[in-house]
Every structure is written in structure tokens, then in C-alpha cells.
């Protein structure tokens, strides 16, 4: 087969003469083809790099972004405050005096509830507090306010009205509690955590 092919080619070339023969075997014929191959190779490599770069970017954008745990942190803060204010279904001792919020409890709220708003000394967090807590004490039946506790950076509260990744995480919870005299109360706890720099990129 191979012999026959060679023979056919040889015959063809012989008949066509020297001019056509030289045309096929001319140096330029091969150089031209090789150039095309090189261009295709460069194209393929560039496509390969584009795809690889896109994959790297996608992976980096997903895994490089930190987990936003501020909502969980705010929830933990709310749970801690609720545990502090209640004891076995009744309101904790010393929270209410004469049907109103105790001034002593209000003043020493952080110590009473074992809460501190300390943060890492990064991004200037030491200068501006990253937490805010607001507690509203109401009569359950009449909704009359019996007292209020505000702790932390009050500027963060405005961020709760905004939507977006960079706004602080806010948790607003109500709960029902009674005292030993069967007086019914509603307590509203608003917990706000900022810490945007570490949780959002």
C-alpha cells in the first residue's frame, strides 16, 4: 500500500514537471504551515490561561470571603441577656423594684449579666465599640414602659434600618416573663453587632 502511494505521488510529480514539484517542496510551504500551528497553539494556551484564571478567581471569591457570624453573635448576646433576666420562669431578683426597672440593676447591667463589650485591638475597634444592646421593659397587658437599658455604641442602632452587607447585624426579640406576684411583663431585647471588617469583605 505504502509502496503504491509512493509510486502514485512520484508519477504525479514526474508528469507535472519540475516547476510544480519545487512548489510543493519549497521551504515556504512548510514555514507557512508551522506559523499557523504556532498561532493555534498560542490561542489555545491563552484560552487555557483565561479559563484557569477564571476558576482561580471564582474559588478565591467564594473561599476567600469570611463567614459572616455576626447574626449568631447577636443571637448569643440575646440569649445571654435573657438568661440573666429570668430565673426558672420568673424574672430575676433585683430587676424590678416597685413594679419598675431597678436603677441599681440598670447601672450595673454589664456586671450583673456578666457581659463585656471588649473586642480585638484591630481596625480601630478599641476606640469605637462594636456592640449595642437596648432593653425595653413593658407591662404585658397595658404595654406601658417600665424602664429602659441602653448599653454600647448607640450609633449602631441606625444601621439596623439599612439593608446590605456592610450594615451591622441586628436581632430584635421579645419575651414574656412574670414575677413572684404574677405580674406579667414583656421584655424587648435589641442586640446589634458591627464587626464588619472581619465578617464582610
Amino acid at each position: 500500500m505504502r509502496f503504491l502511494l509512493n509510486k502514485m505521488i512520484k508519477d504525479n510529480l514526474l508528469i507535472k514537471g519540475k516547476k510544480e514539484k519545487s512548489e510543493i517542496f519549497h521551504r515556504r510551504f512548510f514555514i507557512k504551515n508551522r506559523k499557523g500551528d504556532k498561532i493555534i497553539s498560542i490561542y489555545w494556551f491563552s484560552i487555557l490561561f483565561i479559563v484557569a484564571a477564571a476558576i482561580v478567581y471564582m474559588v478565591a471569591s467564594f473561599y476567600g470571603e469570611p463567614y459572616d457570624v455576626r447574626e449568631v453573635e447577636a443571637n448569643i448576646l440575646t440569649n445571654q441577656i435573657t438568661r440573666c433576666l429570668t430565673n426558672a420562669g420568673y424574672v430575676s431578683e433585683g430587676v424590678f423594684v416597685g413594679g419598675f426597672l431597678s436603677e441599681g440593676f440598670k447601672t450595673n447591667f454589664r456586671d450583673n449579666c456578666h457581659i463585656n463589650f471588649e473586642t480585638e485591638d484591630v481596625y480601630g475597634w478599641k476606640d469605637t465599640e462594636q456592640f449595642y444592646v437596648e432593653l425595653g421593659f413593658f407591662d404585658f397587658n397595658s404595654d406601658t414602659e417600665l424602664g429602659k437599658i441602653v448599653e454600647g455604641n448607640i450609633n449602631l442602632k441606625d444601621g439596623c434600618l439599612m439593608n446590605g452587607k456592610n450594615s451591622p447585624s441586628c436581632i430584635d426579640r421579645d419575651f414574656y416573663v412574670i414575677d413572684e406576684e404574677n405580674n406579667q411583663y414583656k421584655i424587648n431585647v435589641v442586640s446589634v453587632v458591627r464587626k464588619t471588617e472581619k465578617n464582610v469583605q
Binding site: 512548489e23 443571637n75 421579645d174
Partner: protein, 198 residues
């Protein structure tokens, strides 16, 4: 000679075929296609190939950009750890306080439910005022009532039928509300607060 010049076997075959095609179509003996016709065909093929790859490149770039947009916009939200699945201490505290609440006759809600094995007007409405008012925005379903072991419908006049979410496969199918706090009434019956997730 062909091999020495780097001419592949495949190219040799195609060259022969090409020559033979010209011979058959024009009825000429051993006459090869002219240089002009060959170059025209080659150029057309090259233009076709180039156009294909240009379109392919645009398609590849569009697909990549779309993937990047998708991964940055949609999947980045997946990094937010929501508090929906977290323990809800305010709801639990409310539940215990509710059970300890006394009616005008000085009877505790817990004792009354234990006695009647259902909600009555006082404790049913109080439960609605507390749990439905406070937690219906957070949860898809809020239910409080008497639950029991075994099969049967858990239903009352105030909260309707107990909400459930199905977890597990076909074999291990289980009905579990997200948050469930219980107080035993008897050995088989209990007062339950069930909060189903959104």
C-alpha cells in the same frame, strides 16, 4: 523523500486523493489542481476556522464572566451564618413563664392544662398573645398544645394542627419541628411549644 522533508503519511494520502479527484472530475490525465484554486480553497477554510474560533472565544469569555458573576453574587450570600437554626432562649423563657402564669382564680396554666388536657379560653388566648404575637414573624409555624406519644392528630382551637417539617429518608422519616420545648403532663402526654423554621 517525503519522510525526510517532514511530510506525514496522512498528508501524502490527502495529496494523492486531491490529485485523483481532479483527474476524475475534469477527465484529465494526471493533472493536478492549479495553484490558484488550491489557494482559494485554503483561504476559505482558514476564514471558516477563524470565524468559528472567534465565536468560540466570545462564548467562552461570556460563560466565564457569567460563572464569576454567579459565584460572587449568589454563593457569597451562602457565607452568612443565620441565627434561624440557633437556640431561641427568649422563646424558651416565655414558655416556662407562660406555664407558671396564674389565672384570676390563682390556678397555674400548667396545672389547668394538665387537668383538662387541652387549652381553655384563658390559657389559649394568653398563648396566642405571647407566642403568636412574638414569634410568628420569625417562624413559619408557631404551635402550642398538648402532644402525646404515638399516632394521632395534634390539634387545638387556638393554634390548629401542629406544624411539622420532614427530615430523613424514606426509611427514617421523622416529623420534627425546628424548636421544641416540652413540659411533661403525664407519662405519655406533654405540653409542647413547637416552632417550625421558615
Amino acid at each position: 523523500m517525503f519522510n525526510r522533508m517532514g511530510f506525514s503519511f496522512y498528508k501524502r494520502v490527502s495529496f494523492v486523493k486531491e490529485t485523483m479527484m481532479v483527474e476524475n472530475s475534469k477527465g484529465l490525465h494526471c493533472k493536478r489542481k492549479s495553484k490558484f484554486v488550491l489557494s482559494q480553497i485554503t483561504k476559505k477554510a482558514q476564514v471558516g476556522n477563524t470565524a468559528t474560533w472567534m465565536v468560540a472565544t466570545v462564548a467562552i469569555v461570556i460563560i466565564l464572566l457569567f460563572s464569576i458573576f454567579l459565584s460572587t453574587s449568589y454563593f457569597s450570600d451562602q457565607k452568612r451564618v443565620a441565627s434561624d437554626n440557633q437556640f431561641n432562649q427568649p422563646a424558651v423563657s416565655s414558655f416556662f413563664s407562660y406555664a407558671l402564669t396564674e389565672n384570676s382564680q390563682g390556678e397555674r396554666v400548667y396545672d389547668k392544662i394538665k387537668q383538662e388536657e387541652d387549652l381553655n379560653e384563658f390559657n389559649g388566648n394568653l398563648a396566642l398573645d405571647i407566642f403568636y404575637e412574638f414569634y410568628s414573624d420569625l417562624y413559619n409555624g408557631v404551635w402550642l398544645g398538648v402532644n402525646f406519644e404515638g399516632f394521632g392528630v395534634r390539634k387545638n382551637d387556638y393554634f390548629g394542627t401542629r406544624p411539622t417539617t420532614i427530615r430523613g429518608g424514606d426509611v427514617n422519616k421523622k416529623n420534627v419541628p425546628h424548636l421544641s420545648e416540652e413540659l411533661n403532663l403525664t407519662s405519655t402526654k406533654f405540653l409542647e411549644l413547637a416552632l417550625a423554621p421558615k
